[in-house]
Symmetry: C2
Subunit: 315 residues, 2 copies
């Protein structure tokens, strides 16, 4: 069987694809995640799997399945995902395996991202790769010495929690400092604050509460100084965070992925120069910082790689 079922289960959307050995997506379906019960997302994944099997039984079409989840993966594919109601201890792998009749692997979204980038992206042939996923949150998938770094409790790569300033971060957010300062919502908040201060911007015409990072990026591309300054600052702070990652891991390449990566043209220069200013100089000189070309397929591709290489893996 030359296809696998790849599933990217997020906090809001669930995407599934049938992928071949060359990394080609044959078909793909995306649905809004059913938050009504713990069983909701499980049922959705099973339905997507059956749909993508195209009328056949999944085990006649797919060699295996792999699911990336927005949370912690414990032994035997049990998942804790704070954004999915009732997923404190969901035995995802065993339930899906029973329903689909194929081996099922479960991986954290961060680690799936770095596997995808190492299979089909900028990490190909590399042993030391960090993929920084920047969207609503920030997390890092880390390959070091050819192996995924998981941590003692599967909590490695929490790059959103990096401290890069001495300031107290507003506690209310419950997020880490880097995430509070530069993830998508931070861009929107910074624009809203600038408008409240009365700064002149083409965003002034908008209802402040409706501004998202997307609108701020569009304004910056039109030459709006307020929006450009926000991305400049974001790039600088991200550069400090990446400098810390570079000094500790000494990777060959750092790949930017996630929603905010599509706006990287607006902050990549500021990011690189801040990184070079702060990271260990020999490591900084040798690392490449690039934007992922895999777009929103990065995690699906990582799942496919996982399903193809470790069909009987223990996860």
């Amino acid at each position: 069987l030359s296809y696998v079922l790849a599933v990217d289960l997020g906090g809001t959307k669930c995407s599934a694809a049938s992928i071949d050995k060359s990394g080609r997506l044959l078909s793909r379906r995306t649905v809004a995640v059913d938050h009504s019960s713990a069983m909701g997302p499980l049922r959705q994944i099973i339905e997507l799997g059956n749909e993508l099997a195209d009328g056949k039984r999944p085990h006649r079409v797919f060699a295996a399945a792999a699911v990336a989840v927005p949370g912690l993966v414990r032994r035997k594919g049990t998942v804790w995902a704070p954004n999915l109601p009732g997923w404190e201890n969901m035995p995802l792998a065993s339930r899906l395996k029973r329903a689909l009749g194929i081996p099922v692997l479960v991986e954290s979204d961060r680690s799936a991202a770095v596997l995808g980038e190492c299979w089909r992206g900028a990490g190909r042939g590399r042993s030391d790769v960090v993929v920084l996923m920047i969207g609503t949150g920030i997390g890092a998938g880390i390959l070091s010495g050819g192996r995924i770094i998981r941590g003692a409790h599967e909590l490695s790569g929490c790059a959103g929690w990096l401290t890069i300033t001495r300031e107290k971060v507003p506690k209310a957010t419950g997020n880490g400092e880097l995430e509070t300062l530069v993830a998508g919502p931070a861009i929107a908040r910074a624009a809203q604050a600038a408008l409240r201060e009365g700064q002149q911007s083409c965003l002034s015409a908008m209802d402040g509460s409706k501004i998202t990072a997307h609108e701020v990026a569009a304004a910056a591309r039109q030459g709006d100084r307020v929006a450009q300054n926000i991305f400049d600052r974001c790039g600088k702070l991200l550069g400090f965070g990446i400098a810390n990652i570079v000094s500790l891991f000494d990777p060959q390449v750092v790949v930017l992925g996630g929603g905010m990566a599509s706006a990287a043209d607006l902050y990549l220069d500021a990011l690189k120069s801040a990184m070079r200013e702060r990271a260990q100089p020999l490591a900084a000189r040798q690392v490449r910082v690039v934007v992922s070309k895999l777009g929103d397929e990065i995690i699906l591709l990582g799942c496919a790689q996982l399903a193809f290489t470790t069909r009987k893996g223990k996860r």
Copy 2:
């Protein structure tokens, strides 16, 4: 043969010991490093090895030797050490092997420290351990998933380069931010600055230029507020740096080693509370931060562990 030769080659001192399988140091010699030529330290290690063999030929006494170096270890045990004149590309392993007639392994001092701590210290039986060596400089030895993290260019663990503030760090030092703010010399500089400002301290009686971290620690233990405040601030900033390490690596234990660890009673509480304030909360709750009990034997023990377990290792 039940002994190995362990050598801790630093920038200023070189220590060698004969160690048995239980981690007992049978005898130990320490000399000031000969900086007169590239061959100086090499000759010293050979002499120490012969001395510790106690009149016998080293290969009749030692199963193997391992040397920890203050620099980068390249393939085949070739060393780049910026603090040793002429050590841009020193073929240390091959030269020592020829002179001593036994297998010789070469390791960075940071990685030797974490090996020592995992063999005979607080890292015993653990898979995810970070040893933060704090002295004149700052560096981290990292074990993750049971393996040493080396980085793509053997530059991992450069924790002295962690950025934890947005301030520009004085460029002149050539060191990273965390190192500039909290390593031994920073403690001395902070005390000198406080005295110049006219703050009242029992250190005021001293010649400012002669104050070292050691005197500041002694003053703090006598209740001197100026000295105590310096260590409080140092603990807080170190806590921020360790928070970054915890959020990225999720270790079971962080061990403080090096000269500054002996003053940890003065800053450990401040360090822990800053770490808990900033690190990913689940990882912060589970990690232990402890002071190494191995003192200045930590690197020697790591060398011994290395020599006993990988006598024919490729390094």
